[in-house]
Subunit: 308 residues, 2 copies
DNA sequence: CGCGATCCCTAGGTCATTCCTATGATGCGA
DNA sequence: TCGCATCATAGGAATGACCTAGGGATCGCG
């Protein structure tokens, strides 16, 4: 079976015209190199060197083999180098999970942070929804992610809360923004809610359902849309109100709904943003980097998490 | 230490997303592949797969490694293929030694024979002089050669005579061609002799010296030139006569000295053409081919060798 | 022409690697 | 919750890598 080791011995022997010299260069005893060459010749079924009195002389087949041997060793070396630099985050791909809304107002800055520090890397931010991201985590497609809890956290996951993101009520009607929105008023509102596909398990909705449940009411939605931008635009057009994370409101309202504003709920409600990964896994440098940078970004916008 | 085997296991695992499947494809037991992957990860100092419940999932570093692993294995395969086809004489270089005059009138046809049979190969015909060729043989730079004996044959060489090439007297003067040239007449001739550099050991001259020595005379040369064509041209201009192998005379006289002709010596003198190689060496297919073709070519021109 | 130096091969032994079977641990899906 | 699929571990046999020691051939030199 052809091996890189044999090719290394072959090249050293070819260049020196001597087994002894090759062995010296490679740091082996002479019979070891001799044995490797013999094994290579046997495996190829051809004579590579003629043993002639003083030293050895390559055959024409050896001439033929040499450039290929060099190419093969170079490719192997290149492979090692690529891995090393990927390990050092100089190149390669960094993949990180991040649920929709948080990605919306922290994602671009996060990617910018990574690229500023490691210009050679590719960055992938995965996931439209926290639960989708959790599924990727569970399947191993993602090493770590920043998601909004509560979501149906499965066993074997380590969850580290990093920030609280307040949920605010947004509307184009100044009257409804005059004072914090109570559950009573909230229950009567005409709402547009994003992330239709995932409404049953969406973190924000779970929080809101809980809030309303305490008052014995169910939330009603007038419009269901897929993405948060559309929801904000609809709010700007005065067609409905909505509840979104404050960070998203700060970024999207001026751009998509300049006539609208936001106000807190009463009592204040929060999405908890947390870093999640498989329990017991040792995180790669890339993942640790992303976690650190994402945490910093998020905490610039949302309040740092403080356990009660 | 990185090995091709590890890369093969890595690729199979990457493609199947499973150690078991990879092992099946490669024809190994599952723990063997597992061990190879672990060794590769250790040698690179990086995790390549995350072990996740059902199967394994490549990390981004593995994504980075894969194309390089493929390139490396392809290069190794290419190396093997190149050697195989060189071995089968489909490509590569065939090197053969052949001394000056014989190469002159048989070389082109010999090369044509080889190329007709093996269109992909490169052919090198080495050597201007028998002794130069012998030196290459002794040093191992040549595997086998067709040379003219007697020449100073050194120990350790196997000499197989294949043809006798008669030495003929050439002249532009029809009178001198009327009858075979005796040593007496020869000793008085004005001669032009080729291969100046090697005159002391040249095979033809040794034969002629022996012939004259029996009559107690020494040969005199009027002109010394390096190559046989020049000598023949000078003969054609009537400036001197010469002695060259009959094969060379047949080919060169019509072209370079149409007014000249040739006649035998009395007694007839012969160069013996022989195949020479190191004793005890097993000849490569290429060398055997060249010997066979060269022998056939030579025997079409010179008389087959018949031991007395 | 012998003599030492050089270089390759062979022999025999040690140690590491490779590969196997058997078995345990774990996650997934019915 | 049970069965199945998958990976990890353990232990042992076979193979390969490497070494030291010594023999044979060749080369250059006195």
């Amino acid at each position: 079976m052809l091996s890189l080791h044999q090719l290394r011995c072959f090249l050293a022997t070819y260049e020196h015209g001597s087994l002894t010299a090759a062995a010296t260069e490679l740091g082996y005893a002479q019979p070891s190199v001799s044995e490797q060459i013999r094994a290579l010749e046997k495996s190829l079924g051809v004579q590579l060197f003629r043993r002639v009195g003083r030293g050895v002389v390559p055959t024409t087949v050896a001439d033929e083999l040499r450039p290929h041997a060099e190419r093969t060793l170079a490719a192997a070396e290149e492979a090692r180098r690529a891995v090393t630099s990927a390990k050092a985050l100089q190149t390669g791909t960094i993949r990180f999970g991040m649920f929709g809304a948080a990605r919306l107002y922290a994602g671009a800055g996060l990617v910018a942070d990574v690229l500023a520090r490691y210009p050679g890397v590719r960055v992938e931010l995965i996931g439209q929804n926290s639960n989708e991201v959790q599924e990727d985590l569970r399947r191993g497609r993602l090493e770590a992610a920043m998601i909004a809890v509560p979501a149906a956290t499965s066993e074997g996951m380590t969850v580290t809360p990093v920030a609280k993101d307040e949920l605010v009520y947004i509307s184009a009607d100044p009257e409804r923004l005059a004072s914090p929105v109570t559950p009573q008023r909230f229950a009567q509102a005409q709402l547009v809610m994003p992330e239709t596909t995932w409404r049953a398990v969406d973190s924000t909705r779970i929080v809101l359902r809980q809030m309303l449940h305490e008052t014995g009411r169910n939330p009603t939605t007038r419009i269901e849309v897929e993405d948060i931008e559309t929801a904000v635009e609809l709010v700007g057009m005065g067609l409905a109100d909505s509840v979104i994370p404050k960070g998203a409101a700060l970024q999207l309202l001026p751009r998509l709904a300049p006539s609208a504003g936001y106000v807190s709920l009463r009592p204040r409600q929060y999405d908890t943003l947390a870093v999640v990964h498989r329990s017991g896994a040792t995180l790669s440098p890339a993942a640790r980097l992303m976690i650190e940078l994402a945490t910093r970004r998020i905490q610039q916008i949302a309040e740092p998490y403080s356990p009660r």
